[in-house]
Symmetry: C2
């Protein structure tokens, strides 16, 4: 009988962390406020002390997912891959970030990192290309991630059987490289990587 032993007492951080863990378990479609509350041993209404709406909670999760993106002096392709992999790191991460990013006007760490990388490589139209690459990454990653989930859960509806997602890595690299544009030939020399 210590002075306080009421077990369920949370803050913004613990709610968000629990929600993110639950997202990986059940997916975005089944991530309800009531389920999150249940996992925290709390009534659903308790969540509204920490977040004013579900949308605000989801936006917070999207920020956490994209917070990993580091603007090191890496190349455009490496930066693009790290953004994609940050989205892939959580179930339905791409869809979550896509559906939340319309409100973030150019202020995302992803877009800044891409713009810096483009500048390092001597690209033209840096800002516009950064936006284009970000839109490509979000569209591509959302489709690929949805397909991955559909594949693992059984029913396919389309044609060929086995390696449907095989060429998608090449599509990603081709897309990012094309959107980067002609390199000014004075920038970082291309290193072949098998």
């Amino acid at each position: 009988m210590s002075p306080e032993h009421n077990p369920a007492r949370h803050d913004r951080e613990s709610v968000a962390r629990t929600a993110l863990a639950l997202l990986d378990e059940v997916g975005l479609a089944d991530l309800s406020m009531r389920r999150i509350a249940g996992r925290l041993d709390v009534q659903p209404s308790a969540l509204y002390w920490h977040f004013s709406s579900k949308q605000e909670l989801l936006a917070d999760l999207a920020d956490r997912i994209t917070a990993i993106i580091h603007g090191t002096g890496a190349g455009v392709l490496t930066t693009a891959r790290s953004i994609r992999d940050a989205l892939f790191a959580h179930r339905d991460g791409a869809e979550l970030v896509l559906s939340t990013y319309a409100l973030r006007l150019g202020a995302s760490p992803a877009q800044s990192a891409l713009a810096r990388a483009l500048e390092n490589e001597g690209a033209t139209d840096v800002e516009q290309r950064a936006v284009a690459i970000l839109h490509f990454i979000l569209g591509h990653a959302t489709l690929v991630q949805q397909r991955m989930h559909a594949d693992s859960h059984g029913a396919l509806l389309g044609g060929d059987e086995n390696d449907v997602t095989a060429g998608l890595d090449r599509v990603f690299d081709l897309g990012v490289t094309a959107l980067t544009g002609a390199i000014s030939a004075a920038a970082t020399p291309p290193r072949d990587r098998a």
Copy 2:
């Protein structure tokens, strides 16, 4: 008192058409089976005679939205714009198609039209570029359309005020052109269009 005058008798077609009209009025988030049923003067359960699930109904709507895409001998940029505009033609059209298209493995009319246009222009890696351009269009259109809706409904959260969506048309053209790749110079000569 004609022999039949029971007013509510529908088929797949009339249900889908009503649902598509309702989508334009209320948006994807508020497009519920119960609301569609209400518009048809029918109980919600009646919809399940025509469609086995809401997901199947939404997939049908996505097909209708993209059915407009015509594989005429137009250029890649023109084809890409017509796909984008087909998505823009209905409220939340891009989001709907994006969330439904992961299951259509390369069988979409949009992808076929892009592949034909790329071939006409003498591009390399036709299939991969068609997929990349389609992913770019879907990501871009989804983000732009969400922003358009958010702008019209008031609250912005980001920086500058007025022409935030101004450069996005240029981003689209730059993106599609870059993804098309270097033209083989023997194909259709570029016509300047003001």
